[in-house]
């Protein structure tokens, strides 16, 4: 099978972090004159030399996004169904080493959550869970889909990586999109952070988005968890990954997120401090490199920052998210995966979008299975 790993192998030993410092302001200016960007051009926009050009990049990113997506913003919510996890990730609260009472929603509880979410006016959700094939099994997901498809027009998953045949079964059940973050593209750091469990298999995770494309997922969303390694390098490789998927799987909508590490129960300290300015640069560079890619913005970020990020290329946002299992119907219980930073309700986010000249899109597909 073709694999993004072959692309990764070509860049992994290059001193990218040093090469970023060789880019000049003149290089950046010439990139900004172009309509279609090469990988080299994208690299230059991620360099420190591009920082003085963020305004010009933002203007261009805004125009491109408006042209391709219009004055619209997709709204979705995450639905946490289980916090059982078999991995040890040093930065995550769901890690198998963190002791807390774990649970998985029953069919009835899934329905209660679905009702609570649907009452907020949300029609698009992503099922989230800790990574456990036993608990977040194909059987379980297929079963809860019989309930969820009565409430929602689009359901995605952000769970442990699976085989292509599993994804085929899930798309048949009506699940239409897949999110899987590589966390870090650096193979060495990856192994240091993922000390136990099947997640240690870097290559299997790396090929997960591609298996989703092959299985007929309508949309596949990738990203690196910013803060684990040099964000410029991570963002560059994320962009290459997105381009790789776009070029091979024409019928899949490729999306990218830029999650930054948030406080969690493991009290992990990020390796790298990624500032707001850094995150903005990563987002803008990606928009200019892949004008048609979706960009998702979660409630990990603070309200004031999210408001400012809306016109910079974002196409999809979450609102009023609970990162707890059962957190919509019973907000007070159990461990959350990480702390969200924007607590505003769906209605508040809708009003904000209208105010900024964006039409909130609550529905963008129709489950047909």
């Amino acid at each position: 099978m073709m694999s993004f790993y072959h692309v990764y192998e070509q860049v992994k030993n290059q001193p990218l972090s040093d090469m970023f410092h060789e880019v000049s302001g003149a290089d950046v200016e010439s990139v900004l004159q172009k309509d279609a960007l090469t990988q080299d051009d994208y690299f230059k926009l991620l360099a420190p030399a591009a920082e003085p050009y963020l305004e010009a990049m933002a203007q261009k990113a805004h125009k491109l996004t408006l042209q391709h997506f219009g004055h619209t913003m997709q709204l979705f919510l995450p639905l946490y169904v289980s916090d059982y996890c078999v991995n040890t990730c040093k930065y995550c609260s769901f890690s198998v080493d963190n002791v807390f009472p774990r649970r998985r929603l029953t069919l009835e509880e899934v329905e209660e959550e679905a009702q609570a979410i649907a009452e907020m006016g949300i029609e698009q959700i992503i099922i989230l869970s800790g990574e456990s094939m036993k608990h977040s099994s194909v059987e379980y997901l297929t079963e809860i889909m019989t309930v969820l498809k009565r409430y929602f027009s689009s359901v995605g998953i952000e769970i442990q990586p699976m085989d292509q045949a599993d994804y085929e079964a899930l798309t048949a059940s009506g699940i239409d999109n897949l999110t899987v973050y590589q966390e870090t593209y650096d193979e060495t750091i990856y192994r240091e952070l993922h000390t136990k469990g099947p997640k240690r298999d870097y290559r299997y995770r790396l090929d997960t988005p591609e298996r989703g494309c092959l299985a007929g997922m309508r949309a596949v969303n990738i990203g690196g968890l910013l803060g684990l390694d040099d964000w410029r390098r991570e963002s560059f490789i994320t962009g290459l990954h997105g381009q790789y998927l776009q070029n091979r799987y024409l019928d899949t909508e490729v999306g990218v997120s830029f999650p930054r590490i948030q406080p969690n129960a493991g009290s992990y300290e990020p390796n790298v401090h990624v500032t707001d300015k850094n995150m903005v640069q990563a987002m803008l560079a990606l928009r200019l490199f892949l004008p048609r890619a979706g960009i998702t913005l979660s409630t990990r970020e603070k309200a004031a920052l999210r408001d400012q990020l809306i016109p910079l290329g974002v196409t999809k946002m979450s609102a009023a998210s609970s990162t707890k299992v059962g957190g919509y119907a019973q907000p007070e219980d159990t461990q959350s995966q990480f702390e969200i930073s924007d607590e505003r309700s769906v209605e508040e986010i809708r009003q904000l979008l209208f105010q900024k000249g964006y039409q909130p899109v609550m529905k963008d597909w129709q489950i047909m299975s």
């Binding site: 408006l66 042209q67 391709h68």
Partner: protein, 261 residues
């Protein structure tokens, strides 16, 4: 103008079709549609709430217009057919714009799947208007399959690059009997006029109106441009030439002139 366009027995005074996507809000969309005088409006079925609850995009589309639900989001003929059936079942009439796009990068239509979907939906009694990549044989097959009109793209959707496919569209206008509606790529009123001057029967404009600084005023500009282009086409554009006419004729000796004979 007493020059109606007739599609599936319906007489249309306006040759500007409009879309409903990409607007900042429904109120703006409604005003833009009204000002455009458009009588055919396309709406993405995937964005319509079929549960019948609450706010519905259809409530904001003026009643006089013919709804043309589209199958955007479909990647295969089968998906397009299923979407069209849902649309009909939800009471949105029997017109359908087939959009089958299996390329998320340029959003170019898949003609082969579109032909298949056209056949299937015509058989089921729909008025089918397929959106297509300009190609004569594909257009012929859509026509043979019973398409009520053929909708070739002027440029890739949302690209605002104008009628880049003009030469092929000109051939479709000459060779296809059902109406030709140029759909997608039209970024400016002058380009809509250009399509109409070329002989297109109608144009469909969405992005250029919805993302204008003032969509309502821009809708009016497109309405006027489409009318101007149509009038120009109907009244015979004068011949154009890059060069001035030669002043000393080369065949003048063939014309007998009095005196010398």
């Amino acid at each position: 103008m007493n020059d109606p366009l007739v599609i599936a027995g319906r007489q249309l005074e306006s040759r500007l079709f409009t879309g409903t996507g990409k607007f900042a809000d429904h109120q703006q969309m409604k005003e833009a549609i009204e000002r455009s005088n458009s009588e055919v409006v396309t709406v993405a079925l995937r964005r319509v709430d079929l549960s019948g609850s609450g706010k519905h995009i259809l409530n904001d589309i003026p009643e006089r217009v013919t709804l043309m639900p589209n199958t955007s989001g479909a990647r295969t003929a089968e998906e397009a057919v299923r979407i069209a059936r849902l649309s009909q079942a939800s009471g949105m009439g029997n017109w359908v714009k087939i959009e089958v796009i299996s390329d998320q990068k340029y959003l170019l239509p898949d003609n082969e799947e579109t032909i298949k979907a056209t056949r299937m939906l015509v058989d089921e009694g729909f008025v089918v208007l397929p959106y297509m990549s300009p190609d004569l044989m594909a257009a012929k097959r859509m026509e043979e399959a019973g398409a009520a009109a053929v909708m070739p793209l002027g440029s890739p959707i949302g690209s605002n690059r104008g009628i880049r496919m003009k030469e092929i569209i000109r051939i479709l206008i000459d060779e296809i009997d059902v109406p030709i509606v140029v759909d997608a790529g039209i970024g400016k009123p002058s380009e809509a006029a250009e399509a109409m001057e070329t002989g297109a029967d109608a144009v469909l404009v969405n992005t250029a109106i919805a993302t204008a600084a003032n969509p309502v005023a821009m809708a009016e500009a497109f309405d006027k441009a489409v009318q101007a282009g149509r009038t120009a086409y109907m009244n015979g554009l004068g011949p154009t030439s890059l060069h001035a006419e030669a002043s000393s004729p080369l065949t003048g000796f063939l014309t007998p002139s009095g005196g010398d004979a």
